[in-house]
Amino acid sequence: MSTLLKVMLLGLLSMSAYAEEAKLEKIEVATDKPALARGAEDWMNNCHSCHTMKYVKYRDLLNLGIDKAKVDGWRGEASLDTPVIAQMSEADDMATFARVPPDLSLMAQARDGGPNYMYSYLIGYYLKPDGTAGNHVFPETKMPDPLGISSASDAAQRSEIKKTAGSITSFLTWAADPHAGERTKLGNYVMVYLVLLSGLLYLVKKQIWSRLK
């Protein structure tokens, strides 16, 4: 029945060959605490005015290891146990953009391509001939170019903006699945345990079956 396995594997390969329409930039998502703290800061500076993260509380940021003084600065009067709500009110959003900007708690997992999509979207702005900014990844977007990459022509400036986009993406990837680090760490122990257990069970099986003539 090894043919069966081969047939199944071939099928799986053909499934993964199906890719998204727009070509996405690949990004290595950072998971270390300093990078996430930098990402949180970039997010607060560039996104917090309009976007909410209703499943993330200020205390979660504190637990992530971000400086208490910084978190206090971001939350202002709000308690540590309130979610991170956008600074702009929804009424103002409606007046300015005719829609409420989406919640970003799960955004890193809510689009095909995940973090790659998010990163490519943030750096996907370009100047159209009429002088307004368009986006390669999401042409219908209502969001004005948040990091200003469409008007940046200097190479150093562009790479700085890409770095910011990357760190925001890393932060939002953490926000979408805050236990991912704990999960993979536990997963490593579980794998070692299961491999050892299976090895022992194989020996038990062999031992028991050796009684048969």
Binding site: M1, T3, L4, V7, M8, L10, G11, S14, M15, Y18, Y55, D60, S105, L106, Q109, A110, R111, D112, G114, A176, D177, P178, H179, R183, T184, L186, G187, V190, M191, L194, V195, L197, S198, L201, Y202, V204, K205, I208, W209, L212
Partner: protein, 421 residues
């Protein structure tokens, strides 16, 4: 087993004799390969799903305005809630994977043949219940794909003659999928696993009546049977270890690979996703549904596609035992069928906007049903070809014995009829 407590119990309940009859003395063919592990694995996955599900239900809120938030509460605030949820979500896929392999093994080795028809049909019933449970469970996270998947599938009942529209409203509890749908799906999603456990017991009673088939297809002599315990408990536990390794890779390292990104967006009746796809295990059947241009025809085709397996004991007319092992043509048919399932799965995954995909889907749907309908003719022709070519001694003997038995039974029947007339 002995001792005063066991003796006390044995006078009141057949504990020792039960363990003896079903485990330590239960005869199992010694030549069973690892493909026979998957029934046991399905049982374990069922237990894991029930266990994780019960704990998830303690934290989940079956309310359209709270459901999505409560999943995030489980993922972020409940101790090891992420583990429970990922185990349950991956477990659903694992369940279908294990069941599909279990069914493929049955088809490959012809284990559905007499006298195991009832075993196969109870399994078919279990598959239907599993599909219903998975479908209802998928609504509970209340994401976009949950909502629109449930909308599309409940809408299919519209094709019921005369009362179609009423049935759809009755199923949903409302004119569209909403809070009433969510609460009833939650209630039934909690009920069905226990019905499945009941049906599994019936499945096992049938199994222990007719005993396991084996790769040779011939009922083995007593000396080739070994007790289930400890031999197959040991073999099944080793298989379980391997299964858990694969399962844990998904749970711990790639749990989101099986969750559609769109389901991380809360359900919104005003926005239809670009492309509504079911979970991978429904894709072949979804492709068949879409391949028939007429909605009524599509629903009938899809329902038939799931039920076709039940007809196999009637369709397979070859008297050669052992399924594909001794039957090269049946083996080719088996692999072509698997290939067709994969093609259908691919078609179900792609949006139907591409006309060539639609044509591929229609051809694959035709092949799906054709591969069942040709079985009676091909199996008969293959049988006479193989007999002419020569079969192993044991198999010829078995076939002759079965033929003799059948003749005798027919004569017996005729004699009795003659007596009464």
């Amino acid at each position: 087993m002995s001792g005063p407590i066991i003796n006390w119990i044995d006078k009141r309940f057949p504990l020792t004799s039960f363990v003896k009859h079903e485990l330590t003395d239960y005869p199992t063919p010694r030549n069973l390969s690892y493909w026979w592990n998957f029934g046991f694995l399905a049982g374990i996955v069922l237990v894991m799903q029930v266990a994780t599900g019960i704990f998830l239900a303690m934290h989940y809120k079956a309310d359209a305005s709270l459901a999505f938030d409560s999943i995030q509460h489980i993922m972020r605030e409940v101790n090891y809630g992420w583990l429970l949820r990922y185990m349950h979500a991956v477990g659903a896929s694992a369940f279908f994977f294990v069941i599909f392999v279990h069914m493929a093994r049955t088809l490959y080795y012809g284990s559905f043949r007499a006298p195991r028809e009832l075993l196969w049909w109870t399994g078919q019933g279990l598959l239907l219940m599993l599909m219903a449970t998975a479908f209802m469970g998928y609504l509970l996270p209340w994401g976009q794909m949950s909502f629109w998947g449930a909308t599309v599938i409940t809408n299919l009942f519209k094709v019921t003659p005369f009362i179609g529209d009423d049935i759809v409203i009755w199923l949903r509890g409302d004119y569209s999928v909403g809070d009433d749908t969510l609460t009833r799906f939650f209630s039934l999603h909690y009920l069905f696993p226990f019905l499945i456990i009941g049906a599994v017991i019936v499945h096992l009673v049938a199994l222990h009546t007719v005993k396991s088939s084996n790769p040779s297809g011939i009922d083995l002599k007593a000396k080739d049977n070994i007790p289930f315990h400890p031999y197959f408990t040991a073999k099944d536990l080793y298989g379980l270890g391997i299964f858990l390794i694969v399962y844990s890779v998904f749970v711990f390292f790639m749990p989101n690979s099986l969750i559609e990104p769109a389901n991380n967006v809360p359900a919104n009746p005003m926005v239809t996703p670009n492309h509504i796809v079911p979970e991978w295990y429904f894709l072949p059947f979804y492709a068949i549904l879409r391949s028939v241009p007429n909605m009524f025809g599509g629903v009938v085709a899809m329902a038939l596609a799931v039920m076709m397996f039940a007809f196999m004991p009637f369709l397979d007319r070859s008297r050669i035992p052992g399924g594909a092992r001794y039957r090269p043509i049946y083996r080719i048919q088996f692999y072509l069928f698997l290939l067709d399932m994969l093609v259908l799965g691919y078609v179900g995954y792609k949006p139907p906007t591409n006309p060539s995909i639609v044509v591929v889907g229609q051809v694959a749907t035709f092949c799906y049903f054709a591969s069942f309908f040709v079985v009676p003719f091909v199996s008969k022709m293959e049988e006479s070809w193989l007999i002419k070519r020569g079969l192993p001694q044991g198999i010829m003997e078995l076939m002759e014995r079965e033929k003799r038995d059948l003749e005798e039974r027919k004569q017996e029947h005729r004699r009795r009829k003659g007596d009464t007339v």
